[in-house]
């Protein structure tokens, strides 16, 4: 007997591939754009765009579609950022995992509230992340670093988030939605 009666698409290889690619889409597009951003395109503020892009993506997907952004993927993305930039390894991994955990914890409230509250929470998260990154890099390199690059990174991340959210929402409703798999 069919335990879940109802109309659904035919399960087959094509359907499974479709579902799998939809689950993989957020992580893969984050990694690809991250790699693209490290090429010398010459955008002003490009070294700060890389962590801003990854942070925004991790926050958005952990909040709205955590099945597409599991903890291992966050770990992998953090490792990629650390290896691509010259930061001491482990810092971005830790910060991204903390953002992931935070987004998961407040998922119930935030996914129901409007964009402004989500942006505010993201801004606060980005500020704390920038400060923590400054502290950790200073600790690991054993010298006091100036705060301006970190603050600039916070500014870029917070300013980029609305545009990022616009693009990611359309992705969230389209290519990254496994429930819409044909």
């Amino acid at each position: 007997m069919d335990k879940t009666p109802g109309i659904r698409p035919r399960p087959g290889l094509r359907h499974m591939l479709d579902v799998a690619s939809r689950y993989a889409f957020p992580g893969v597009q984050t990694a690809l754009v991250l790699l693209l951003l490290s090429a010398p395109i010459g955008i002003p503020g490009q070294p700060e765009l890389q962590p801003a892009w990854v942070t925004g993506n991790v926050f958005f997907w952990s909040l709205f579609r955590p099945s597409s952004m599991p903890a291992f993927l966050v770990f992998g993305l953090g490792l990629l950022v650390d290896l691509l930039t010259q930061e001491p390894i482990g810092i971005q991994i830790l910060l991204l995992l903390l953002i992931h955990g935070l987004a998961l914890k407040f998922r119930r409230e935030l996914s129901r509230s409007g964009f402004a509250l989500v942006w505010l929470v993201f801004g606060a998260t980005a500020l704390v992340t920038a400060v923590a990154e400054l502290f950790l890099v200073s600790l690991l390199t054993w010298r006091i670093l100036p705060p301006w690059p970190g603050l600039f990174e916070f500014g870029v991340a917070t300013g980029l988030y609305p545009f990022l959210a616009l693009y990611l929402t359309s992705v969230h409703r389209g290519p990254a939605a496994p429930e819409r798999a044909a």
Binding site: P40, Q50, L83, L84, Q86, E87, P88, L136
Partner: protein, 285 residues
């Protein structure tokens, strides 16, 4: 798959994040304790990515040169005039250089001068800006059997760019003079005063520890000095510029924001190992 109860599965899922956080902390300590392991990982990643970047670069370069020629069309006449004047000036200096060369040869012959060995260099293309927020370095794509070694010096068409800090099979990383860890002994050309060029992660590095009583002029040329065998003498670094807050900065002669081709020279120096980037302890060559 192992059959677990739902509670066990949920507990395991909840445990994932803390375990990964602890793992990342362990990775931080590991990276500090054994700096070779993350460096190897970085080199392998950049080795894998350098050909990809080189391929991605081609359209970007095409776009950039198209934009440049588009902009040039509007400035043709003024540029022509500027080039004509520069040409006259350069022709004059060419004649002076020829005369000095002849004089140099005669003097060298009289002194039985032992000539310096000719320098070998490798030309490489810059494929990525590999610094991040707290460092300034670039990634070069080099051929698989290149001769580049740790500590060699990178020069642009304009001037000094930096030193090679990591070498892989197909890529190399150059730490720029604007990086925080970069310290270069320099000499001011006019009064031969020594100073240290300190990078600040900003577009212009600062000049510190200038000899007492010396006041550098605005626009004075700064070249490397051969102090402690770290750098060869006489490489052009930049020109002095006083910032608005009165600090002495050096505007780099190389176009560090738009590096495309650099030349890596092997001067055979091993006096001081090049600086390491944040998070890595000093290595022995």
């Amino acid at each position: 798959m192992i059959r677990l109860s739902i509670q066990a599965r949920q507990a395991l899922a909840r445990l994932t994040l803390p375990v990964l956080i602890v793992f990342s902390l362990a990775l931080m300590l590991l990276g500090r304790a054994t700096p070779l392991v993350p460096e190897q990982a970085r080199i392998s990643l950049s080795d894998a990515l350098a050909p990809v970047y080189a391929v991605v670069d081609a359209p970007i370069l095409a776009v950039r040169s198209a934009v440049r020629s588009g902009r040039d069309v509007f400035a043709l006449e003024s540029q022509n005039e500027k080039l004509r004047l520069e040409n006259e000036r350069l022709r004059h200096w060419y004649d002076v250089a020829m005369a000095l060369d002849a004089e140099n040869a005669t003097l060298k012959g009289n002194l039985h001068w032992v000539p310096d060995p000719t320098l070998s260099y490798v030309t490489a293309r810059v494929v990525a800006d590999a610094g991040g927020v707290y460092a300034r370095s670039v990634l070069l794509a080099v051929g698989p059997h290149s001769d580049i070694r740790h500590g060699e010096i990178a020069l642009d068409a304009g001037g000094l760019v930096g030193r090679v800090t990591e070498v892989g099979a197909r890529s190399a990383r150059v730490l720029l003079i604007t990086d925080m860890n970069s310290r270069i002994p320099v000499i001011l050309e006019k009064n031969r005063a020594r100073a240290i060029l300190v990078g600040e992660n900003a577009p212009s590095p600062r000049l510190l520890y200038v000899q007492d009583g010396i006041h550098p002029e605005e626009g004075e040329r700064v070249v490397t000095s051969a102090e402690a065998g770290a750098f060869p003498a006489g490489l052009l670094v930049g020109t002095v510029h006083y910032s608005t807050s009165g600090q002495i900065e050096v505007t780099p002669a190389a176009d560090l924001g738009r590096l495309e081709i650099v030349r890596i020279f092997d001067y055979g120096l091993s006096g001081i190992v090049p600086p390491e980037t944040p998070g890595r302890a000093a290595q022995h060559p």
